[in-house]
């Protein structure tokens, strides 16, 4: 008999997400649904506002990828108004973007995703001496090593483990689950990096604040450029950025890279982690300028997991539909004409497996009707996965030299073929590889900025006018930490007439479309075997590998 | 010109058919011009505060404090205006000599006078006979004006309490913060202060026009009255 399992709330993500699956007698997933349970209506709120206000408003879509909506919304306005911003401004924006990516990826891996791979209880039985030696297996310059340091971590965390309720945020989790694969020593190394990463995320946030005024929610972008001209022209500030960047690059190379390599070694035989993906279409868009006509990430599309060719992205083929989403207008619309009118039909009464394995009365998703606040974006009618893995794969297939080298090195060290990247492990590795790409090449943008300032160019902003008698439309598009983001605006009478954001997590987490095609989240869960349906760690791990941001997905 | 016999008709030799009447006392006229000057100064400095439209010649070091000076002038005249407005309000209610102002209230409740007065301005009726010094339209305009001025004063003091925290500013700080919260924050207070300024400007324009209009056509010389205190009218 089939059983229904609800995981709500999915924690260690941004936002309000429910996953609901139906499993057969062998605990294999036969139906899977992703639902967002919060709507805020920011696209509705943007209407009628001054175009200069909207980027800050859109920034509040998300405080985690805090800078991405600010940037893309500003770019949408500039595209609409035909503004070309100064080179300095492009590069400063890029430096802030680098800080965002590094921050987001590190926090995601260590503070949101790591506990799916790392059993902290097991770490307590580790031998600090062995762990100290093991650390050198994955890098020549480990961040966490040394018997004393490891012993202290065991001691600190050990106090909590003795008292289950004393574990606070770590209480009542899935410790000891059968799919945890790391040895106690490996768990200890990762746990130590978890603690170290708390410090790193503070430093990388400072990097963004140097030019952004603050983080989260920096405040230094205006339509036409950036406002932080004093910081940009201050050598002490610039130096501060550079030094912090190097510190972060070191952490990425010697902790993040090493830990993912370690996870790959141990998890490449775990079926729930290597299970092939449901959707093998990938899309990415050029972003993060390093210099004139030089971007760190490429645009392109890969279809059906075919790593021999890529296609160009034609943005006129993007649509969003709401067949199974809580909005009134079902039909697939291009974002310039997109609509956001709520039509909440809620859940239906039903039953599912409760915390003790018994059947309990619950509110369930109605798969025939509407069941999520997330829309279903499609490219030429196809569901697409977006994100760091998509970006890395597109650049890899296109032969981008920087990327090819990094990817090949990793595959060789991990001892897996490229096809292994089409998995939960691959997605987690893809994100790390993108962080490494930035760590290795980000300073090119910094150096170009220095060169440009040296040449006497100190421009950071261009003037412009918004003609009230004209109608404008524009798009801001590019990859952000979770994938391809696009903001679409129409301006009329000097105010925003229509506004639509098509967001990475919308692409990945959206519900089925009219044709019954599932998006990446749902598709990935299909066919998954769950060891214990009251401890759905496999589901959580797969979903976490996308780095869900549901405030983003719905907005 | 004899002016000591206040409020009583006074005959002027040689001008048999015209008599001169004392309409406004010296104090009264002074107050009028203090108010008028304050309003002009407050409007100009207020608009500068809202959008500093001139910039000092500057070498990058703040030394001449132009905005600070504008704000000081604004606040000094704000206090001056408040003083004369309070004075005037007191006199209106209690002042013996201000009976003729209060008398105007009688006409307000008389619809006939209203119709006649409107007809007069539309150039179709004769001017009505009034009980007090102001006709109903004029009186209502003044009432509207006073409401605006009190709004400006209160919002002005809310802003002031947040600018200067010692002395008087400190004294009124708590109640003003309470009012600020009731209005929905300082931004709204500023906004109300600013928009009401426009109301006052409109009043002044209409008012000056009416004053000149009456001087030209009214034949009673209210124009002169506010300067000299005297009013002229035909002998009955």
């Amino acid at each position: 008999m089939s059983k229904r399992v609800i995981v709500d709330p999915i924690t260690r993500i941004e936002g309000h997400l429910r996953i609901e699956v139906v499993v057969n007698d062998d605990n294999i997933v036969e139906e899977a649904y992703a639902s967002s349970t919060l709507w805020r209506g920011l696209e509705v709120i943007a209407k009628g506002r001054d175009p200069r206000n909207v980027p800050l408003l859109m920034q509040r879509i998300c405080g985690v990828c805090t800078y991405s909506h600010y940037l893309k919304s500003t770019m949408a306005m500039e595209d609409a108004l035909g503004i070309k911003i100064p080179y300095n401004a492009e590069l400063v924006r890029s430096l802030m973007d680098q800080a965002l990516f590094l921050h987001d990826h590190i926090v995601h891996f260590y503070h949101l995703h790591a506990l799916d791979w790392v059993d902290i209880v097991s770490a307590l039985s580790a031998d600090p001496v062995k762990a100290s030696e093991l650390a050198f297996k994955y890098t020549d310059f480990p961040i966490a090593t040394g018997t004393d340091d490891f012993a202290r971590v065991i001691d600190t965390v050990g106090k909590f483990a003795k008292h289950p309720q004393g574990l606070g945020p770590f209480a009542n989790a899935y410790w000891g689950h059968s799919t945890y694969r790391l040895t106690p020593e490996q768990n200890l190394i990762a746990l130590s990096h978890y603690l170290k990463a708390l410090e790193m995320q503070r430093i990388v946030a400072q990097m963004q604040a140097i030019f952004g005024g603050k983080n989260p929610h920096p405040q230094s972008l205006v339509v036409g450029g950036v406002t932080c001209v004093m910081d940009m022209l201050d050598p002490a500030r610039m130096g501060e950025f550079m030094v912090k960047f190097k510190k972060l690059a070191d952490f990425v190379n010697n902790a993040y890279y090493a830990d993912v390599l370690m996870a790959a070694e141990m998890y490449k035989t775990e079926p729930s982690v290597m299970k092939p993906m449901g959707v093998k279409n990938f899309m990415a868009f050029e972003s993060m300028m390093l210099g004139r006509k030089d971007y760190l990430f490429d645009s392109g599309i890969i279809m059906n997991g075919d790593l021999t060719k890529t296609f160009d992205v034609d943005i006129s083929k993007i649509t969003e539909e709401a067949t199974h989403s809580w909005y009134a207008d079902d039909e697939a619309l291009h974002p310039y004409d997109g609509k956001t009118n709520p039509n909440h039909t809620g859940f239906v009464d039903g039953e599912s497996i409760g915390p003790d394995g018994n059947v309990v009365h619950t509110k369930n998703i109605d798969p025939e009707g509407k069941y999520s606040w997330i829309k279903s974006p499609r490219y030429d009618g196809h569901p697409m996965e977006v994100g760091p893995l998509a970006s890395t794969l597109v650049s890899y297939v296109k032969g981008n030299k920087r990327v090819v080298k990094i990817v090949n090195d990793f595959l060789e060290k991990a001892g897996v073929p490229a096809a292994a990247l089409f998995s939960t492990l691959g997605r987690t590795a893809g994100r790390m590889l993108q962080a490494k790409l930035i760590a290795d090449h980000g300073l090119t943008a910094f150096n170009n900025l220095i060169e440009n300032i040296k040449s006497g160019d100190t421009d950071t902003c261009v003037p412009y006018v918004i003609d009230k008698d004209k109608e404008y439309k524009g798009v801001g598009i590019g990859d952000v930490p979770r994938g391809m983001l696009s903001h679409w605006v129409r301006i009329k009478n000097g105010v925003v007439e229509n506004y639509q954001a098509v967001v990475p997590s919308t692409w990945n987490a959206g519900p089925m479309d009219a044709k019954g095609q599932r998006g990446p989240y749902e598709g990935d869960l299909m066919g998954l075997k769950i060891a214990d349906i009251t401890q759905p760690l496999e589901i959580i791990r797969i979903i976490h590998s996308y780095d869900p941001c549901i405030a983003c997905a719905v907005h | 010109m004899k002016t000591n016999n206040k409020n009583a008709p006074d005959h002027v030799a040689g001008e048999q058919d015209i008599e001169q009447e004392m309409e406004f006392s010296a104090n009264y006229r002074w107050q009028h011009w203090v108010r008028a000057v304050s309003i002009v100064v407050l409007t100009v400095t207020g608009f500068y505060i809202a959008e500093p439209f001139v910039a000092p010649i500057s070498d990058g070091t703040p030394t001449n404090f132009m905005q600070a000076i504008f704000r000081s002038v604004h606040i000094v005249f704000g206090f001056l205006l408040t003083a004369v407005i309070i004075g005037k309000s007191y006199l209106f209610v209690f002042g013996r000599k201000h009976k003729m102002e209060r008398d105007a209230l009688k006409d307000i409740i008389n619809p006939k006078i209203w119709i006649q007065q409107i007809g007069y301005y539309l150039l179709i009726c004769k001017h009505p006979k009034l009980s007090g010094v102001y006709n109903p339209l004029q009186f209502m305009a003044y009432v509207g004006f006073y409401i605006m001025i009190f709004v400006l004063i209160i919002t002005g003091f809310i802003l002031y309490a947040n600018v200067y925290h010692e002395g008087f500013g400190g004294l009124i700080y708590e109640p003003m913060r309470y009012l600020e919260e009731m209005m929905g924050g300082l931004a709204i207070v500023r906004q109300v202060h600013h928009i009401t300024t426009w109301g006052v400007i409109l009043f002044v324009f209409g008012h000056v026009y009416m004053a000149v209009y009456n001087a030209v056509f009214g034949k009673e010389g209210a124009m002169d009255a506010i300067f000299s205190g005297m009013k002229w009218h035909k002998k009955h």
Binding site: D8, P9, T11, H16, T37, L38, R40, L42, V44, I45, G48, D50, L56, G63, V64, K159, G168, P169, A171, N172, A173, Y174, L195, R202, G213, N215, Q219, S220, V222, G224, G225, T227, V229, M230, P342, H344, G346, G354, K363, C461, V462, I540, A551 | A50, P52, A55, P62, Q67, F70, Y120, Y121, L123, E180, A187, R190, Q191, H194, I195, L202, F205
Partner: protein, 391 residues
């Protein structure tokens, strides 16, 4: 004279303080807490000197004299007895991120994460039923003793169904209401929970409101979008020290943080008084650090301590970055503060003519009416000249 009365206040404050610390010490330690924060800090590699240094900085932050430092340290040592439940409503998680930025690493993670953070969806390990159990357990076990911190506005439109959490589809507003009933103190973290926030901006499609609108328990508002980590942590400490709610302003914001305007302590204030303004972003004035008033700074209407505390360990703040303040800690600032890059007088008014009249601003309305009046006056005068009024 002023100084004397201040001293007197501090004296009584100090007494209240000592009593409070004594009280806290006498409380039975909460279950499973076998060490104080101080011990925990030492275990995490921080010396007593580090701890005292941190206590001194907190003392300074709360504008208390240095003699308070040992007391702050004392109070913090017993702080681990306070469990915290942190809820996410209609929000963007920016406020949680701000909390993560809190300085002095192990201290913040000890106070908030390791020791007493009972429920926090972004950080907790358990999901689904297990997460819900953690919340129930904490509410039950620490009844009347936990601190509730809420991030996000409360959607009330469509009967509150714009937000549900859990397998039973419980509404956000009901969860917030239930958890607030037995909380020892309630903090609304961020402008969303303090005043409704971004989702409550016109036309507020989900009917989002402040937490204080749905509960009759007292709520301390710690607004900002997001508030600085110091304002979040400092408010908690204030509660610990006095055992009562801190002194609040008219909007229930702690006075120690929201007493002054941004403008009052702004680093560009000299240029404001001098009348030296950035006229356009990127101009010479911008390079010289002139005042940002004319490019829309709302510092004169905004109560917050950013100009003093800054963000990200003092790295910067919006005005240092040359942008200006947009009023993010004020109620309804999205609607009342006008166009972000223009002074308030140019505030846009939404009008009914499908956006056609939407560019109306205070001055434009004023000039418009004035022009109309002038035309009317001219016409009246002209007609009067031809056809004088009746006598």
């Amino acid at each position: 004279m002023l100084a004397e009365s201040k001293d007197a206040t501090y004296d009584s404050l100090q007494k209240a303080f000592e009593q409070r610390v004594e009280q806290l010490k006498r409380l039975p330690a909460m279950e499973n807490k076998d060490k104080s924060i101080e011990e925990a800090i030492e275990e995490a590699g921080f010396s007593r000197r580090d701890f005292m240094k941190w206590s001194a900085s907190i003392t300074a932050m709360l504008s208390l004299p240095a003699t308070f430092t040992p007391l702050v340290a004392e109070a913090v040592k017993v702080a681990d007895r306070l469990p915290i439940i942190w809820l996410h409503m209609a929000e963007c998680t920016g406020c949680s991120e701000a909390l993560l930025r809190s300085a002095n690493p192990s201290i913040d993670s000890l106070i908030f994460d390791y020791i007493s953070l009972e429920y926090h969806e972004t950080l907790m390990a358990a999901s689904g039923w297990q997460a819900e159990q953690n919340l129930e357990n904490a509410m039950h076990k620490y009844k009347g003793r936990y601190i509730l911190m809420v991030e996000g506005g409360i959607p009330t439109g469509n009967e509150g169904s714009y937000l549900t959490i859990g397998g039973h589809g419980k509404k956000g507003k009901d969860i917030a209401l239930d958890t607030s009933k037995d909380a020892a103190a309630i903090f609304a973290i961020g402008t969303c929970s303090s005043f409704g926030g971004v989702q409550a901006a016109a036309p507020n499609p989900t009917g989002a409101v402040a937490l204080s609108e749905i509960t009759n328990r007292p709520v301390i508002n710690v607004p900002g979008c997001p508030p600085s980590e110091k304002n979040i942590v400092g408010t908690l400490l204030h509660y610990l020290l006095y055992g009562t709610l801190p002194a609040l302003d008219a909007y229930n914001r702690p006075k120690w943080a929201y007493r002054l305007r941004i403008h009052d302590l702004c680093e560009r204030r000299g240029h404001f008084d001098a009348g030296e303004f950035v006229e356009q972003f990127g101009d010479q004035g911008a390079k010289d650090g002139f005042c940002l008033y004319k490019v829309g700074c709302k510092g004169p209407y905004t109560f917050n301590n950013c100009s003093k505390q800054k963000f990200n360990q003092g790295t910067s703040w919006p005005i240092q970055a040359g942008f200006g303040c947009m009023g993010c800690s004020e109620p309804n600032f999205w609607d009342t503060m006008g166009t972000v890059n223009e002074p308030l007088k140019d505030r846009l008014y939404h009008t009914v003519f499908g956006g056609l009249g939407a560019d109306a601003t205070a001055d434009k309305i004023g000039i418009g009416i004035l022009t109309a009046t002038a035309v009317g006056i001219a016409a009246h005068a002209a007609i009067s000249a031809v056809k004088p009024p009746k006598e």
